[in-house]
């Protein structure tokens, strides 16, 4: 017999307490993660923001962004005033006040001046490696998704590429060191003693020497490119597959060759997707320390990368400073004190802001393009 009164719930439903406990546990874990992240970022922002921002116009301390990195000298003058001067200003001070006593002098490496060198170096590494990775990655993705027959071999290749994405970045660093720094061929008139293989060219007095590119911008770019290639290939392949098969059929049935079809009907519609996924890869390239430690980065460099170059090629074969490596150096190589915090927190803060901008940019771009490309 149907009794409508039985439908009306009396008291708490069955399993209420268990349900509430599970719910509060899951919520607790979630908010714990959020709180920890917020505390971490809050600390960096609280300590780092004052370095970058000022109370008076133009509110941003451009000097920190544009000045070269120098050693910080901390000392008292004869009157007992404390001075904190980067190396250049310190020499100027000594020249200006000859014979005056300097007391309690301390020096802190890398802590004075600004971080122009690391910012520029990271930018160069990022641009170079993205150009390399996009070129190789898109080529491979086009082959895998448009040309290759779906055979077990291609399946294995795809799986291998996916697995490559899981390799720790330090392994890529060592790989880059042993291949790009020590082994890849160059053309030179004076082969190094440690060259693995040398043979002469037919013109001039040049040799092909398998001696590597040394620790240089191009070795770093190549290593970083290797590291993100799997990401780029996978993302590009997905974007290519997202283009409806109907476009390809229609184009082929119109008498287009396969390449014409790809160039006119597949690539233009998948390029936005490829580029937005690549923007996410940019944040990874910009942030990695391990791959560039042995291949490109240098802790201290007096000149900006393009200063004192004889040829454009020198830019590629010179070492650069890099923001993540700079942060590592500041954190691990020098003793922490009140005088080094400005550089430490400032660098981390600038780095966070850069990455946040790149991520936000890629998300906005992606949502805009998604809305635009509908079929």
């Amino acid at each position: 017999m149907f009794d409508p009164k039985k439908l009306i719930r009396k008291g708490l439903p069955k399993g209420h307490f268990k349900d509430a406990a599970v719910r509060s546990l899951l919520a607790g874990v979630t908010y714990l993660v959020v709180i920890i992240a917020a505390l971490l970022f809050g600390k960096i922002i609280v300590d780092g923001a004052p370095v970058l921002f000022k109370a008076e116009a133009p509110f941003v301390d451009f000097e920190f962004l544009t000045a070269k990195n120098e050693t910080l000298h901390v000392f008292d003058d004869a009157l007992g005033n404390r001075h904190q001067l980067p190396a250049a200003a310190y020499s100027a001070y000594l020249d200006k006040h000859p014979g005056e006593g300097i007391f309690n002098e301390q020096t802190f490496s890398y802590s004075g001046g600004g971080i122009a060198g690391p910012i520029v170096g990271t930018a160069l590494l990022t641009i170079g490696s993205m150009i390399l990775a996009l070129f190789f990655g898109i080529c491979a993705a086009i082959y895998l998704s448009e040309y290759a027959k779906q055979s077990p071999f291609i399946h294995a290749v795809r799986l291998a590429i996916l697995n490559l994405a899981g390799i720790p970045s330090i392994v890529f660093g060592l790989f880059g060191f042993s291949v790009f720094v020590l082994a890849v061929p160059i053309i030179t008139s004076t082969p190094a003693d440690r060259s693995l293989l040398t043979f002469p060219l037919f013109f001039g007095n040049y040799f092909v020497s398998f001696q590597g590119w040394n620790s240089s911008l191009m070795a770093g770019c190549a290593t970083l490119a290797c590291m993100i290639l799997p990401v780029i290939i996978t993302a590009s392949e997905e974007s290519l597959r997202a283009v409806p098969q109907g476009f390809r059929d229609a184009s082929l049935a119109m008498g287009a060759t396969r390449w014409q079809t790809i160039r006119k009907c597949v690539l233009p519609f998948s390029l936005p997707g490829i580029l937005t996924s690549s923007l996410l890869a940019i944040t990874r390239v910009a942030g990695e320390t391990a791959p560039i430690m042995f291949t490109a980065a240098v802790a201290a460099k007096d000149d900006l990368p393009w200063q004192g170059l004889k040829s454009p090629f020198d830019l590629l074969s010179s070492q650069v400073q890099a923001l993540p490596y700079h942060i590592y150096t500041l954190a691990a190589r020098i003793p922490s004190s009140e005088y080094t915090q400005r550089a430490q927190y400032g660098s981390v803060f600038v780095f966070l802001v850069l990455v946040a901008f790149l991520s936000a940019g890629s998300m906005i771009l992606r949502s805009k393009l998604r809305a635009k490309l509908k079929w």
Binding site: K149, Q150, P244, G246, F247, R248, D249, A250, S251, L252, A253, M254, G255, A256, T257, Q260, K264, C265, F269, L373, K374, W375
Partner: protein, 265 residues
């Protein structure tokens, strides 16, 4: 070496555009078409009818070698000739073949570009750069597809803004803009409403004196309305082929009669 498909003369002599001879075709190891022989006349409309999975679309896709794109498919016996040339011969350039044998798909698939660019696509593929030539061809093909009056003021707008029926007519315009010998249509109206279907049928009716149409359809009334010849397929075999009026009024084979009277399929 590429053999040019220039069958206009041959068609007038033989009265045949596409001739399928003893064709066996298989997907992997499972046969899809068995011993098909059809002589499709030049100019006019030939309809392929039959229940789902009977091989009519497969045969259609064989005619412009679109099946080449599907891995594991092959012709195991027989041949298809267009204007006396075996299109599966190794000397035939499949790209040039498809320029002469256009295809309209079941699902309308205009490119997400402007209406103008869609209609001009084939000409651009052929390397045509003269704007006046392209303009003329675009206008002519859109007029032929009965679309010109509806879109002439918004040629530069995206083709995706058109209705389903307009999109399908744009696909037809895109195909005939390059004046192919044969136009293959794979259930062109199956996703359209009745009014849009009538428009497409009228357009086929108007154009059949200039092109050879081969149309696959599930809709028997449509086959009866638009086609001159009808081929009935069942289980990968050609059961009956003949004049549409004869097939629909007085079929020779019992299976055909059963199918068109709706007793199965």
């Amino acid at each position: 070496m590429h053999v040019t498909l220039n069958p206009t003369e041959t068609i007038q002599q033989l009265g045949t555009s596409v001739s399928v001879r003893d064709l066996d075709f298989s997907y992997g190891s499972s046969p899809a078409l068995k011993d098909i022989s059809v002589e499709i006349p030049a100019k006019g409309v030939t309809a392929f009818i039959g229940p789902s999975g009977c091989g009519k679309s497969t045969l259609l896709r064989c005619i412009n070698r679109m099946n080449d794109e599907i891995p594991g498919t092959r012709i195991t016996r027989g041949k298809i000739e267009i204007g006396g040339i075996d299109i599966y011969d190794s000397s035939v350039d499949v790209v040039k073949l498809r320029r002469d044998v256009g295809m309209v798909f079941q699902k309308s698939n205009p490119f997400p570009r402007s209406i103008y660019e869609n209609a001009a696509y084939g000409l651009r593929l052929r390397g045509e750069r003269n704007k006046t030539v392209i303009d003329e061809a675009v206008e002519k093909s859109l007029q032929a597809a009965a679309l010109w009056d509806e879109v002439k003021d918004r040629l530069q707008e995206s083709a995706l803004g058109l209705s389903g029926g307009q999109q399908q007519r744009l696909c037809i315009a895109r195909t005939i803009a390059v004046q192919p010998q044969v136009v293959l249509m794979d259930e062109p109206c199956s996703a359209l409403d009745p009014i849009a279907t009538v428009k497409v049928e009228e357009l086929i009716w108007d154009l059949k004196h200039e092109y050879t149409f081969v149309i696959v359809t599930h809709n028997m009334q449509q086959a009866a309305r638009v086609s001159d010849k009808t081929a009935f397929f069942y289980m990968g075999e050609l059961i009956e082929f003949g004049d549409t009026s004869k097939i629909f009024s007085n079929p020779r084979v019992k299976q055909t009669e059963d199918y068109i009277t709706g007793r199965f399929g």
